[in-house]
Structure formats: C-alpha cells, structure tokens
Amino acid sequence: MTFSPELEARLAKMLESYPKGRERAALIPMLMYTQDEVGHISKELAEEVAKRCGVTTLQVEEVVGFYTMLRTKKMGKTHLQICTNISCLLVGGDELWQHASKKLGIGHNQVTADGSISLEEVECIGACSWAPAIQTNYDFHHYVTLDQLDKLIDDLRRIQ
C-alpha cells in the first residue's frame, strides 16, 4: 500500500520519535493519519500499519475495534459528530442530533447517498464548557443552535 509523500514523511518522523524496538507505540497516531488520507481502515491498511509497527494484523484490529474514532467503513467527506453526552444533552444536544438525523435522512454511523456527509452520535468530545458542541472532521462548533446547525449542513452540502 502506498501513501502520499507528505504522509510518508510524517510516518517516518513518527517512528523516529519512539525508541528502537518500540515501534508499536506509533500505532494509534499512524492509524489516525492514514485513516485521514485513505478514508477508513481497510484490511489492507491494517496489514500495512501492522507491518510498519511490528505487530500482528490482529493486534491492529484490536486497537481499531476499541476506538470509535477509527473506522472500518468508509464515511462521508465531512464527518459530522454530535455530542449527546450529559453536558450537551442538558442544553439541547439531543435535539441537535434528532434534527441533523432528520434533515440528512441518515442515522448513527451512516453516510448520505452522495457520500458527502456522515453522521455520528458521539460521547463526550471534551467541549462541555461550550455545550452543546459538535465536530466536523477536526473542527469544533460551539454553542450550536438548531439554526446554526441548519446553516452548517447547508454550507457543507454546497461545498460538495
């Protein structure tokens, strides 16, 4: 499996930052960055990462299975994550979720037909102080109202 030269450089630097023989420490960051490029963690990708980190494919699958941020199926170009954990729930996180789901016509961990947006109901994303919070890929949106969510989704659709 081949990656872009930028990613290759990043991975090489990553492996250098751990002592020799401890390449497995790079497993999670390596999975995250390669996922960003490839889109999801395929069997092939898991094998490639396993080879680079000196672990078995099964051990990579253990990690992938454990973390919800590592995904084995292809998600939308924008991955919309709505927190419904306690802080956000108290100030309308659940309404945001219901609204987004209805508007996009998809449920948890599903992708729109055109593949542009995917939706995920997530546990705490560490933005309780600015609840209700949502995340699009790596970007946070704070104090989100239903109108803002509407606008956000419309914008996302327009970009595609």
Binding site: T57, L58, E62, G65
Partner: protein, 692 residues
C-alpha cells in the same frame, strides 16, 4: 531467600522473597486468593478484580495479583469488604454469562461456578436482556462461545507468551468485547488447545470433547503421550472404554500443563476403523483372520524350523514400544532365536553422543535444564514443529529468565523470533563455530541438535562445547516416544542393552532388506518396507506386529494386532533420557501388548527368555542397562526418573548414515498420526515450516 519480607496474611506470619506478588506469597503459605485473570507464569492483567484483598493502611481494596509484598504488611483475604467485593464482581460477570451450566462442557470444573458457589451472587439485580452472540467454530478443535467469556485474557496470553503464536486477540469494547482469531473467522495456529484448557469458563471448548460427557463421569488416567519423543504426560479422560479427552490440568509430569495437538487430541488413532483387531495368517496368497492360538502357533513353528535350519532371522523393533518390550525383544531374539540381526528406525545419533561424553558427568540436559539454562543453542531442528514441549521450555526460559537463544538451521524457525542470533546454513558445525564468542559469555549452555549432527560431527560438536570453558549440556533429538529407549535397550545390530557391543555384529535394516538369504523378518511396530519396497529375499517368512495394516504388514505371512501405548503399561524414555511410566487407559478388543505377544511366541517355541511381565523385565533392565538403575518410587508415583548412561566409551559406533529423522511437523507424524483424523483435519500451520 535473601532478606525475606515478613508479612501477615489472615493472621498467619508469612515470609516471602522481596518482589513476590501477594497472591503468590499467600499461595505459598496455603492461602488461596481467588483469581480468574492471574495465571502463574504469564504476564499480569489485573482485569478480573476477583483477588481484591483488604490490606491495612490502604484506603481501598488492593488487587493481590499485582501487589508485591512489603515488610509489615497485614492482609486479610477474606475480610467482609473483600468478600462483598468478590460477590459483586461475580454478579457483574454473570450479567451476560448464560446460566447454561447443565449443557456447558465446563460445568463441574468451572472456576466461575466454583466462585459463585463460594461467594454467593446467586441472585442478580440485572434485569435487562443478556447480550447474545452465536457460538463460533474457529478450527476443527476450537469453538468459542462469546457470551460465556469473562474476558480474563488467559487464552490471549497463553497463545502469545506460552506458544509464541499470537493467534488470539480481543476486539471491540466493554460488554461487546470478544476474543478474535487471527484469520478473522478462523484460527491459523498450532491448534494446541492450550487456550481451551486455560479458559476458566466454558467459553473456549474443544471440538473433540464437546458435549461428550461431564468431568466427573470420566476416569482420569495419567500416562505418557505416544507421539513425539518429548515424553509429555497426558491425562486421558476415559469413559466406557473410550478416550474422550486428553489434558494435563493437574500439572504433574515434566510438561506441567503443556500439551501440543498430538498429546491433547491425537489419541483418536486407536479407534480408527483400519485398526487391526484379529490376527491374520496368509493362506493361498490372502491374509485370513485366525485365532490368536493359531497365529502364535504358526509363528512359533516357523521360527523354530528356521532356527533349527540355521536360517537368518531379521528383527525390526519399534520406536513406540515400551522399554520392557524392546529389551525383551532383543533378548528373545539374541538368546532365544540366536540371531544378531536386530535394528530399528534410528532418528538421532545417541550412541555417538554418549561416546563423545565419556568421562563427563551431568552432561546430558533434561527438559528442566532447557528452562533453567542461561543460553540455549539449537542446531538443525525446528523445535516448535518437531519438539513442541522443548520449544515451550525454551520460550518459558526466555520469558522468565531472559535466556539467550541461538539457532543454526537450514531455514527459518520460530525460535528465531526471540533468538539472540540466528544463522541459516547447511554447514551446521561452521555455523556453530561462528557463535563461539557469543556463547562463551553465558554462564552455562544447552546444545540441542537434530540429525544434521551425526557420527564424527557429534564428537566435533562436543569438542567445540569443551572449548567454550563453560558447563555445556546436550540433547540429541530423536523422533518418537521411545526412540531413545529403543537405542538404550539395544535394538541395534552393533550394540546390546546399555551400549555394550553385541557379541556378533548383525545386519542393519537396509542390509536385511537387501539380503538374498534372509529366512524370516519379524517386524514389531515398524514399517521398513514402507512405500511398497520388497525384500530381496523372496522366501522370507514375514511376521508383523502392528496396530494397522502397514505397507510391511500387507506383505506379511502373519499379522498380529498389537496394543498402542494407551492400552498397556510399561516405561518409556523420552528424548532427554527421562524414564516415565505408562498407565493403561483402556482395552481394544483383539489387540495384545507386544510384550504379551513375545511371551506367547516364546512359550509356544519352548524358549526360556524370562518372564514376559513388565515389573520382572524392568528389574532386569535396572540391573543390566547402564543408567537405568533409577529409583522405583519415582516411577511408581508418576514421576520422571533420569537415566544417566554417561560413564564410558561406546566401543563400536553404529553407522551414522542410518540415522535419519522423519522430519515430522506438528500436524504430521508418520506412523500413528496418519491414522488420527484430528491431525488430518487441521490444515493450516503457522509460519514457514521447516522442510527437509
């Protein structure tokens, strides 16, 4: 013990070495702290929370499996708070665990069942529907029932650390966690079944034992595995004259809990439909079933005739027979039949090693020394494939004592994964010499060598060992359960029992086959004419004693059905010279142990070869075979007594060209394994196999 730590456990003053884990210290003083995930010899997990104990001055309960002992520690293992915590833990474990104990294979010997009996938690506050996942079959021998799993990680660790295979992992999270095999839906591994045995509950079950019976219904017969030469003790579960399982959970025997697929599952050859159950005599060119009396009479009459006429009788001994049988056979042949032509299929040059070690003491390694030696050198052997128990010992040594492993082999072997240095060469001695400087650094060394080192090379290897200036001990690898014993008992044309030169040098097996005037060939549990070879002498009277109709038996004039190691008693000697006793597990109708057959033939011929009875023959072996004067109580109690035949030169050395290992792997073993359907059913094998 240097500066022991003093502590109090349950009011009992206890001393333990510094660094000892609390759970071990308690066990040493007879206090059992319950635990699921903790398992002696494997890495710590602290996942199950069963071993929580109250320790004074600690604000909360502590996990005894990860807490090292400290001076003045006061521990209460059964404090009310600890008992309550365990009860709650059990209730929690039972939230998804199905209560199908009546059908579960583990019922009756389940650790979870025992714990719930002990601590209660008979009622659950959990009213939600249990999370159910269907049972999966991962291989012909491994089944996994996820809801029963309590996620103790024992199987994952035993596979990774104990076996060096890493075929199991845990995927997903929380209540949805599941053990996962390395190939997604199936296992590609050694199929050793260690994960099944180590499972505290019935999550991993064996495809062979599955739903067959219950643990208390079986008779447990501790005997020695009859496949490879490692001599592992396997406890056969016998019910209604049938073996339903093999394991060694009581950890007696040299192998502790270890067993490979052969010891644990490949006992099914004894019930193969091709098993011979009646003697046969050739009449009009066809083998016809006859009575034992008739068959024995036919053999005895013909032997007596040939003996009287001065014809040459060739005798081929077995590498699976007991020491008693081999000894009696060569004695009967040499004294009763008056023939020097005795041989067996040799797979390691033990006589050359004994000769090279003349004058040394303590130069033969045992299975235990492979676990304690500071360094191990493996020459021309794929231990994981051919000697799984020795490989397990080496892995445990690396894990527990950081031993240095060196390998000199033709191709890649599993031991390389943890080896300090691995050399690939076909010139083994050169490869070994290249490691001289590295080996010298270690306090002691065990050299394990296969059939690539034989004849003069053995002497050179020992000379190399001497040159290192450190204590070196040796293991000469041989193939089958009593290959070593067959040699010690003198089933050789050149050497009698105890490596004393035979009065007359006889013919070796290839010479017998090529001899024009061989009058008779008596084959006991061997297959010298495998692959349809023919004897040069067309008139030879061929008698075969075997479990199955082998290629040789198909050419025989008389075929006598013999008993396997699981159907008789006696002693066998393993690859490292440890003598252990077989215990009879069952009867197969029609088959007789070889010793009994020898006795019948001797009596019918009117030859006095001594009593054909195990104890009497072994008494004679103890007197006449050097190194075999072992204490009987050790054997009687199921222990392994070390034969140490190293004290003198072997004056006549057998031809090294006849030494050839069969190169079996984990899933093949020519003579018996081909009749085991289980061995035949597992296809995939781990890693690059060592192919000859």
């Amino acid at each position: 013990m240097s500066n022991p730590v003093n502590l109090t456990i349950d009011g009992k003053a206890v001393q333990a070495a510094p660094g000892t884990l609390l759970i071990d210290a308690a066990k040493q003083s007879g206090i059992l702290i319950p635990a699921f995930c903790y398992y002696e010899g494997y890495s710590l997990q602290a996942a199950c929370r069963m071993c929580l104990v109250e320790v004074e001055k600690f604000p909360k309960l502590q996990a005894a499996c990860t807490l090292p002992v400290a001076e003045g520690m006061v521990v209460r293992t059964e404090a009310a708070s600890a008992v309550q915590a365990r009860k709650t833990t059990l209730e929690f474990l039972l939230t998804n665990h199905p209560l199908d104990c009546p059908v579960c294979d583990k019922g009756g010997e389940c650790e979870l069942q025992d714990m719930v009996f002990r601590y209660g938690a008979g009622e659950s506050r959990f009213t939600e529907v249990k999370h159910h996942v269907d049972e999966k079959q991962w291989s012909p021998v491994v089944y996994y029932d996820a809801p029963r799993c309590i996620l103790c990680y024992r199987c994952v660790r035993v596979c990774d650390e104990g076996m060096g295979v890493t075929a199991l992992g845990i995927t997903h999270r929380g209540a949805y966690s599941e053990i996962t095999p390395n190939k997604g839906d199936h296992l590609n591994c050694d199929q050793c079944g260690a994960c099944i045995d180590i499972c505290p509950v019935g999550a991993l079950t064996s495809g062979i034992y599955r739903y067959q019976t219950r643990p208390w219904e079986m008779e447990h017969v501790g005997t020695i595995c009859t496949h490879c030469s490692d001599g592992c003790k396997t406890t056969l579960g016998v019910r209604n004259n049938e073996i339903v399982r093999g394991n060694n959970r009581d950890s007696t025997g040299i192998n502790g809990e270890f067993l490979c697929i052969k010891g644990r599952y490949a006992f099914d050859f004894i019930k193969h439909e091709d098993r011979l159950q009646s003697p046969m005599v050739r009449r009009n060119g066809k083998l016809e079933e006859v009575s034992w009396a008739e068959a024995v009479k036919a053999v005895a009459a013909r032997f007596a005739e040939i003996k009287a006429a001065g014809g040459a009788i060739g005798v081929a001994g077995s590498v699976h027979s007991t020491n008693e049988e081999s000894y009696f056979l060569q004695k009967f042949a040499r004294q009763g039949l008056g023939t020097p032509h005795i041989d067996h299929a040799r797979s390691g040059d033990v006589p050359a090693l004994i000769h090279a070690l003349a004058g040394k003491t303590d130069a033969l390694a045992t299975a235990d020394s492979l676990y304690h030696a500071k360094a191990v050198l493996v020459v021309d052997a794929d231990l994981s494939q051919q000697h799984p128990f020795l490989a397990f010992q080496v892995r445990a040594n690396v894990r527990h004592h950081q031993a240095a492993v060196y390998t000199v082999t033709r191709g890649p072997v599993r031991e390389e994964q943890t080896a300090a240095k691995a050399v690939h060469t076909a010139d083994y001695l050169a490869g070994v010499r290249g490691l001289g400087e590295d080996l010298k650094k270690h306090a002691d060394l065990v050299i394990v060598f296969g059939d690539g080192i034989k004849g003069a090379a053995v002497g050179e290897l020992v000379a190399f060992g001497d040159s290192l200036g450190i204590p070196v001990r040796y293991v000469c690898l041989v193939d089958y359960s009593n290959s070593r014993g067959a040699m010690d008992m003198g089933l050789l044309p050149e050497l009698g029992p105890g490596y004393h030169p035979a009065a007359v040098r006889g013919m070796s097996l290839p010479q017998m086959a090529a001899s024009q005037d061989l009058a008779a060939l008596w084959v006991v549990g061997a297959d010298p004419l495998a692959g349809g070879k023919r004897l040069a002498s067309g008139k030879a009277f061929v008698v075969v004693q075997d479990l199955f109709l082998t290629d040789t038996a198909k050419q025989a004039d008389v075929v006598l059905p013999s008993a396997s190691a699981y159907e008789k008693s006696g002693t066998v000697t393993n690859v490292t010279g440890q003598i252990q006793r077989l215990k009879k597990g069952l009867n197969i109708m029609g088959a007789k142990p070889d010793l009994e057959i020898f006795g019948l033939i001797a009596r019918a011929m009117g030859v006095d070869a001594g009593r054909a009875q195990n104890e009497a023959v072994f008494e004679e072996i103890r007197k006449s075979v050097r190194g075999y004067n072992v204490p009987l109580p050790v054997l009687a109690t199921g222990g392994a007594a070390q034969a140490q035949p190293v004290n003198g030169r072997v004056d006549v050395l057998p031809d090294p060209e006849l030494v050839r290992s069969a190169g079996d792997t984990l899933f093949t073993s020519g003579s018996l394994g081909r009749y085991s359907k289980i061995l035949g059913s597992v296809m995939e094998a781990p890693g690059a196999l060592y192919k000859g």
